[in-house]
Symmetry: C2
Amino acid sequence: MESKTYAVIGTGAIGGYYGARLHHGGNSVHFLFHSDYDHVCQQGLTVDSHYGDFSIAADQLQAYQSTAQMPKVDVVLVALKTTQNQHLASLIQPLLKPDTLVVLLQNGIGAEQELAQQLELPYVGGGLCFICSNKLGPGHIHHLDYGRITLGMHGETGLPALSQLAEDFRQSGIEVDVEDNIFAARWKKLLWNAPFNGLSAVLDTDTAQMMQCPEIVELARDIMLEVKAAARSSDTELEIDLIETMLTNTAKMKPYLTSMLLDKRNGRELELQYMYKNALDIAAEQNIKMPKTEALYQQLCFINKAIVS
Amino acid sequence: MESKTYAVIGTGAIGGYYGARLHHGGNSVHFLFHSDYDHVCQQGLTVDSHYGDFSIAADQLQAYQSTAQMPKVDVVLVALKTTQNQHLASLIQPLLKPDTLVVLLQNGIGAEQELAQQLELPYVGGGLCFICSNKLGPGHIHHLDYGRITLGMHGETGLPALSQLAEDFRQSGIEVDVEDNIFAARWKKLLWNAPFNGLSAVLDTDTAQMMQCPEIVELARDIMLEVKAAARSSDTELEIDLIETMLTNTAKMKPYLTSMLLDKRNGRELELQYMYKNALDIAAEQNIKMPKTEALYQQLCFINKAIVS
């Protein structure tokens, strides 16, 4: 099979890691940089990885400052924060061929549908990244642990292209699951994210501290039950055991700082639209109430206002 | 009419201010002190007041370290934080005559009923203090503004004694309203306290900042509607206009740091039982749901745990 060409939009902790893996798997990967562009042109891209460090030398790195300068590709991997999604359609437009597969490696619910509608794209998928990774500095990524990706399509078509992507990931050393439907997988991840991301940001604390407080465990469970009801209202039935399993596992986990807590502490805009607002809107359309989730969202709006203003 | 004798239990920002006013109004007032006792025996009690400073010299101050040493009185004014209420019955027992009136100058809901049951007291009332006052140091109170008290009885009887207390307050320069029923007055005050005390503590912010965030105004309104429904379930009908009036007034107020925010910042236990838990329990007994109030309470439990542990 002919080798696919890739574009990575947002070369940070997530996009940089997976893109560099694909490059070392023998794929042609084009990377979009923002403020790091000048640095990587001189120094290349470096990954300090749990599984062994690796890098792309400057003369091997296909780096760009603008998507207008990039070639059209077979697969676009979007690893921007969802807080940038208002620019996403115009950003990726120059990269698209009629059959380009666009895969959103982002948090939350609703981004695939929005993008598919905006650009009338035939092939939009999503990926959930189970990874601990962060950016240490320009072109310098620290991969702490894990890395498995769950992939799924947004619509009915495009599964062959997604399966090819999965195969390229696997040959590059990345564990991948392919699910029928990214929407169901996103609801499942939101079941954990909705309580723990938001509460950790509001209470400025880690998962272990929260799990030691019975009232917070109860609140987390209540929010999970609301998310489960919202998922059901959009035809996604999550197993009831999942909630207790997630709570048990979270209590056993090493203390974990959620991405939303880190965003808050670092003064970065919070991902409220796709992590909370879209789920609340989906539920409201079906007359499903999510009062505790909504209360948390309302508090997060206050915190976010202080960050963005 | 014969002059009444008074005991003030908890001589802090509230008890010290009102007790010292009653003393200067010509009443015999006995003050219980805790850690400040040695200091006030030497230096007396000083009030820097918005309406003019005043004090009680050490040789005029009827100060005690224990209620066992105090005389039985006609009126006991309790100005402890409700976080001390597990000790209240045994604390005031030595002060009681068969017709002693006990008045709780405390926050929240349910303390009068609890005390009346514990001690089989015939005359228990409550007072809501609309005052800005704090303790600067041992025996030293700073009265910043206001001071009106709303008084009401817990049960059907005792109104003549309460009216006499109201008269003594007035003759001592304190504005007083007497309502039929302290329970209704307490629900009304809780309508404001439930959203703004808790949210200010969780978000670590003042009323002005909160009122500038539309999502927090919406959340405050939702919590107020839940409190209104809970009040109705215990036969207290609050006017619907009250909510919008309170929100409008809060938006116009100078930035205000709530007592719960100050308690949190100063590492003092939060008044969760009487400000939240009792109202939630009353509502639950009538199958009234208060999900947003409960979510806030659950978060406050987390914050309180860090304070008391």
